[in-house]
Symmetry: C2
Subunit: 438 residues, 2 copies
């Protein structure tokens, strides 16, 4: 990676105080600050500097005109999750995996300082309540905004979660940016097989340096669910805008539905698994969730990345679809209109895609409801062309699932069978009308 | 068109009783029925036959192995909207434009028969109430399922609506399939300038041959709104699942949110304009709607079709975006994550697109809320790359608007100015939190 090379070339170490000159158009800007460690899985194109005011900035390596070490680090700043608190007897144990996002980078919401990641001390200072719920082992996997999340990072998270659960932890909490938390939740739902303990994703919708941050309550509720008896991959976030309770959503049915509200995560076409209050009260909203049990959690992380989502709209042409086929894509999830339609003049291109061995799956951009390709003639033609109707799966979940399914087989019959098999609650057997806009 | 040529070559006239032999794989299937008129704007690849059981089927011209005329038509069947009822004095007048969809093709919901389009008699039989509200002039524009709607048809609808309004009609109702009704509503909102009378889109979510069809009540409420004093482009559909009231949604803020519920259309990030009851009661939910007025409605239908929607998801690569740029696309609406993000490694491709003169607009796949590119560094980088943040516009509305804006200018400064100008209520000045999931 560029950043490693750059640091080596200039003899830079983590924690060194440096002065960097950066080109910005015709201007030159100078920054002074501490060199931060490049995260394991970052693209590595930027050098991160912690400024005096507590903020981190990433400077593109290519834009750096000069760098000068003002003072070598005495000791590396505390940037890693570390366990610092004495374990209390009788408490269950929870590993918190940090992946980044607002919740990880700004957890110290009381002081308003911005941190690249949180240490156990910082966690304790910010959210001391969680240490009464469980013995916490924090572990930093990476520190990215979740818009930069990638399928290969999902695998890493799955392995780390399984490792923790299989070494006697009672549950895992994953701190994650909210932008793509739904996708990661779906990915873990498919990749973690024989799940016998809770895996809880949590984030915060308001950056923790705002007075109204939801980070603390979400983290507390997430820890509560991590020691509960629900052996599911869940997203735990505010259930209402006020600090009343959180909802635990099933990982395959959850979606970010608002850019900024605290109760942005909603279960689509399904009832959440539970309501959970910070004080530990849990009200299960259904009884068909997976219960905590015995046995090793397995990781099945085979994943085909040549999969795309294609949204349908009036004026869409077949050329995008044809391009994907030409580029060797193995699967396409269509976000169709209504019950699952494309314009009729796109159907020949879909037929050709299927003939070329591409798995074409249908979902609906309505989000709520279930595709049904038997009602209208357009749908019937799509079925005949070989399209796989994805029941009431979210487009995002169908995308993740298709990548996972294609990691296992490229036989279209088998792909269809697997897409229509319910692995992690992604398909509900019938449409519950009482879940609309909830 | 193939169908015109085919009819001419075989001496076929509308209404002729024919026997058609169709190839289906290795099989040959024979149909008998009446030749239906090919609709003006259909792709023209199929011959439509009305079978004995009342159903229409479309047979691909290319699959026809043989055709035989059994009996020439005595008179063409009544396939056109015709005005048959005496005009009642003192009533306002409303033109109903038929474009297709469930509501137009199966309006005779009481008998269960399927019709390609409805005559005024059929309307009267099915929904006699509307003739007490207004003198109705029905006019069939085309008869397509709305998944086949195209920007060029939007123009046709806009011109027909304006023509009716400018020749003294008090309002226009447009019967339309529900799949893409939201897109057409947005298109008309931009194309109809100086709107001084109501333009109401209506459809039905349950096919009219089902006992629970919503067609009749929707049409009644739509006609009510068409004679109201709201000079807006609106979608009028069920407000609840039961037959209580309809909601009149602003054309730029409305979206189909459920594959099959009757109350599928919802206003996103905004309050509907009104509640309307079949008996004529109208409760305005706001007072900032455009009021009925004087003056000619103008049509501004310039539209650039080289525009696409691109959805962001983990694993999306820049190649799709680059392909669009290579193919000469002039505008791209990104459905970003959260507040309006793409992966950081896509930003260089976006920069290049903008440098090539492509307008790149940002919306959020959350649907609810407002993009904000100032909160996170990813957003700031996108802003710097030249992305236009589309406030709280729906991705679908931003797409339609961008095509319309690019029909007027390709100067990116001007595109930005127009995209951020509120033409038809597509941008709300501030986010109303009470509109979430309503
Ligand atoms: N863009 C951030 C927002 C958040 O953390 O909530 C992310 O998804 O990582
Ligand atoms: N697929 C149909 C459904 C309907 O009419 O509601 C259409 O949009 O035209």
């Amino acid at each position: 990676r560029k950043v490693d090379e750059f640091m080596e070339r200039h003899g830079l170490g983590v924690g060194d105080l440096v002065r960097v000159v950066k080109r910005e158009g015709d201007e030159r800007i100078t920054f002074e600050g501490l060199v931060m460690p490049p995260y394991e899985l970052s693209p590595g194109e930027t050098l991160t500097i912690k400024l005096d005011n507590g903020y981190n900035i990433g400077i593109l390596i290519d834009a750096i005109e000069g760098i000068e070490i003002l003072e070598k680090a005495k000791e590396a700043p505390k940037m890693e999750f570390r366990e610092v608190l004495p374990r209390k007897e009788g408490l269950p144990s929870v590993t918190i995996l940090g992946t980044g996002g607002t919740i990880a980078s700004r957890i110290d919401y009381k002081t308003g300082a911005v941190h690249a990641a949180f240490t156990a001390e910082e966690l304790a200072k910010a959210v001391p309540e969680i240490f009464d719920i469980a013995n916490i082992t924090p572990k930093l996997l990476f520190n990215i905004m979740s818009e930069d999340m990638k399928p290969e990072y999902w695998k890493k998270i799955a392995h780390e979660a399984a490792k923790a659960l299989n070494s006697d932890e009672d549950g895992v909490v994953i701190a994650h940016g909210t932008d793509t938390m739904g996708y990661t939740a779906a990915a873990l739902s498919f990749m973690l097989r024989n799940l016998t303990k809770p895996v809880v994703l949590v984030g915060s919708q308001r950056s923790s340096d705002r007075p109204s941050s939801d980070a603390a309550m979400n983290l507390i509720c997430a820890t509560r669910m991590a020691v509960s008896d629900a052996a599911e991959v869940m997203v735990v976030m505010h259930g209402e805008t006020s600090d009343t309770y959180c909802l635990a959503h099933r990982g395959t049915k959850v979606r970010k539905m608002h850019t900024s509200r605290r109760d942005t995560f909603r279960s689509i076409n399904d009832v959440p698994i539970a309501k959970v209050w910070p004080d530990g009260k849990i009200e299960y909203l259904r009884d068909d969730y997976r219960k905590r049990g015995e046995g090793e959690v397995e990781v099945d992380d085979k994943f085909e990345e040549k999969v795309a989502i294609l949204k349908i709209y009036p004026g869409v042409t077949s050329e995008l679809l044809e391009f994907l086929v030409d580029r060797g894509y193995k699967g396409i999830v269509i976000e169709g209109t209504g019950l699952g339609h494309t314009p009729n003049d796109m159907i020949p291109a879909i037929e050709r895609a299927v003939e070329n061995g591409v798995a074409v799956c249908m979902t609906s951009q309505c989000l709520y409801g279930r595709v049904n390709l038997n009602v209208y003639s357009t749908g019937r033609r799509l079925l005949k062309a070989g399209v796989i109707p994805c029941e009431d799966m979210l487009p995002e979940t169908a995308y993740v699932k298709l990548g996972w399914v294609l990691g296992h087989t490229d036989d279209l019959k088998e792909v269809r069978r697997m897409m229509l098999t319910n692995y992690a609650g992604e398909i509900t057997p019938y449409t519950r009308f009482d879940t609309f806009l909830r």
